[in-house]
């Protein structure tokens, strides 16, 4: 027996899986915990649109950003202007699986494809993105040197199609409200980024801006991720936010609770909602860098993220760290 094996030795635990399963079942029922369903999982990955995918390759930020995109609804309505503030919108798994995807309503054409790439250092990241890249003054113990990635500015055009909406609804045996004539054929011009992402690790993990896949929840989740980017801006060739909101929130699959929350946003033309899946994460308002931001905690307590917008840039700090550590890093950015 090695010295360490000896030091860490413990008596064999006497476990009874059947009794433990009964205990788990009682807890699941008492707390009304629902299992994830197949239907909810694949769209979350498949519908991630490119520039967000690159930006959020590895962190809890991904959770937020991915959900934002997957709902289609959120992206369509909420980015149709220039967001200047962010707000948390609690959503449920049902909201996620029930919301129609973006391509239900028309066709998205990329004019500048989202192609993230690694850069050697912060100076290059700043030069290629055209932004001042903030770096943390203090890092928690166990956090190594950063790797930088840049997501160039990306643009796309979305064209609404009443025909496509009808076909998608028919395929799902649903009857959506008719698309108003002024929406059919209208276009949205979407701009995202540029963005810079710094992955802090000790360099042994195969993570980078192009993302990593693996078996573990911790794969592709470096200790710390610091991201910053220009928020998405969407211009319309005629349709207003109010018209789109009214049409999209009346779609089947949008829960009345979700619709009410989105309608309650006071200034939708300048507010970027960050959907928070209630069964997976918790959120609260925090002050970061002197402005209001959102803290998002993974319900397992293993991951934390804080997101805020300041001087026209959206920032995110996330990692397998505590709330205090993530906020300390965020406040030390300079």
């Amino acid at each position: 027996m090695s010295d360490i094996e000896d030091m860490l030795s413990v008596p064999e635990p006497n476990v009874d899986p059947e009794r433990a399963l009964a205990r788990l079942r009682a807890r699941v029922e008492a707390e009304r915990i629902t299992p994830v369903t197949r239907a909810a999982t694949p769209p979350r990955r498949a519908a991630v649109s490119g520039w967000l995918k690159g930006l959020s390759a590895a962190a809890t930020v991904a959770l937020v950003a991915t959900v934002l995109t997957v709902s289609g609804l959120a992206e369509t309505i909420l980015t149709i202007f220039e967001p200047k503030q962010i707000v948390a919108v609690p959503i449920t798994t049902t909201d996620l699986s029930g919301a129609p995807s973006f391509d239900t309503y028309g066709t998205l054409t990329w004019t500048e494809q989202p192609r993230p790439y690694d850069v050697p250092d912060v100076r290059t990241a700043a030069r290629e993105s055209g932004m001042t890249v903030l770096i943390p003054a203090n890092l928690p113990a166990g956090v190594g040197a950063p790797r930088y990635g840049v997501m160039p500015k990306t643009t796309a055009t979305f064209t609404f199609s009443a025909d496509k909406t009808r076909q998608a609804a028919a395929a799902q045996k649903r009857t959506p409200p008719p698309m108003p004539a002024n929406i059919d054929g209208s276009k949205l011009f979407i701009t995202g980024g540029p963005a810079v992402v710094a992955f802090y690790d000790d360099g042994t993990r195969p993570t980078g801006v192009t993302g990593a896949t693996g078996a573990s929840p911790f794969t592709g989740m470096p200790k710390l991720v610091v991201a910053q980017g220009k928020p998405p801006v969407v211009q319309s060739d005629g349709v207003t936010v109010e018209q789109l909101q009214s049409y999209l929130l009346a779609q089947p699959g949008i829960s009345p609770q979700l619709a009410a929350q989105i309608r309650a946003i006071k200034d939708p033309s300048s507010t970027l909602p960050v959907p928070i899946p209630m069964d997976m994460a918790t959120s609260k308002k925090v002050t970061v860098q002197g402005v209001e931001g959102i803290f998002v905690g993974d319900s397992t307590g293993l991951g934390s993220a804080v997101i805020w917008q300041k001087d026209g840039i959206v920032y995110g700090v996330a990692g397998t760290l505590t709330e205090e550590q993530v906020l300390a890093v965020a406040n030390s950015l300079h």
Binding site: D3, I4, E5, M7, L8, V10, P11, P13, N14, V15, P17, E18, R19, A20, L21, A22, R23, L24, R25, A26, R27, V28, E29, I33, T34, P35, V36, T37, R38, T41, A141, G142, D202, T204, R205, P206, A212, G214, A215, S216, P217, F218, T219, G220, M221, K223, D279, M280, S299, T300, G301, L302, T320
Partner: protein
């Protein structure tokens, strides 16, 4: 086990729990507890950690996911380390007391000494960086290099080196 006995124990499948999840639970529960136990050195606390691990998985992942086992092992190590650190923050007396009930020894004085030793070793483990502590927990719970690599998202070829470094760091912490 007979159906009637399972009914008595409340282990008949519940209406909402997928059979695949129950199968996964039965297959991996003992190993998840063993990993947590190696970290917290208290069997009751290890079973509490295992409950949290499976609830967390249940909420977020389909039971037949190909990554289920490595996910569970990694989560067991990380959640157990969080428990250990919060115990350490409460102070040495609490930490020793928590371990006393698991310290099997013929007489109380020996049990107290075993608990004290285990507590000092766990305090050293709690001071290590997350990944090093998780590596030690998984390796000394009997996981192979391949299983550790899958669980922690590391390259299998790096495990040997990282493990040696973690062991050296651990020895230094214990000696402090």
């Amino acid at each position: 086990m007979e159906a009637a006995e399972r009914l008595r124990l409340g282990t008949v499948p519940g209406p909402g729990m997928p059979p695949a999840f129950e199968e996964l639970f039965r297959k991996e529960y003992a190993r998840v507890v063993a990993i947590a136990h190696r970290v917290v050195a208290d069997s009751d606390e290890a079973e509490d950690v295992a409950q949290d691990v499976f609830v967390s998985f249940y909420r977020k992942h389909p039971a037949d996911a190909h990554y289920a086992a490595p996910w569970l092992y990694a989560a067991a190590a990380h959640i157990a380390l969080n428990v250990l650190r919060s115990r350490e923050r409460r102070g040495k007396r609490d930490a020793v007391e928590a371990l006393r009930r698991d310290a099997q020894a013929p007489d109380p004085a020996q049990a107290a000494e075993t608990a004290e030793t285990r507590s000092e070793v766990r305090a050293a483990l709690a001071r290590l960086p997350d990944r090093s502590a998780a590596l030690l927990a998984l390796r000394y719970s009997g996981l192979s290099y391949e299983e550790i690599a899958a669980a922690l998202g590391l390259r299998q070829s790096s495990i040997g080196t990282l493990l040696r470094r973690a062991e050296d760091a651990f020895r230094k912490e214990v000696a402090k």
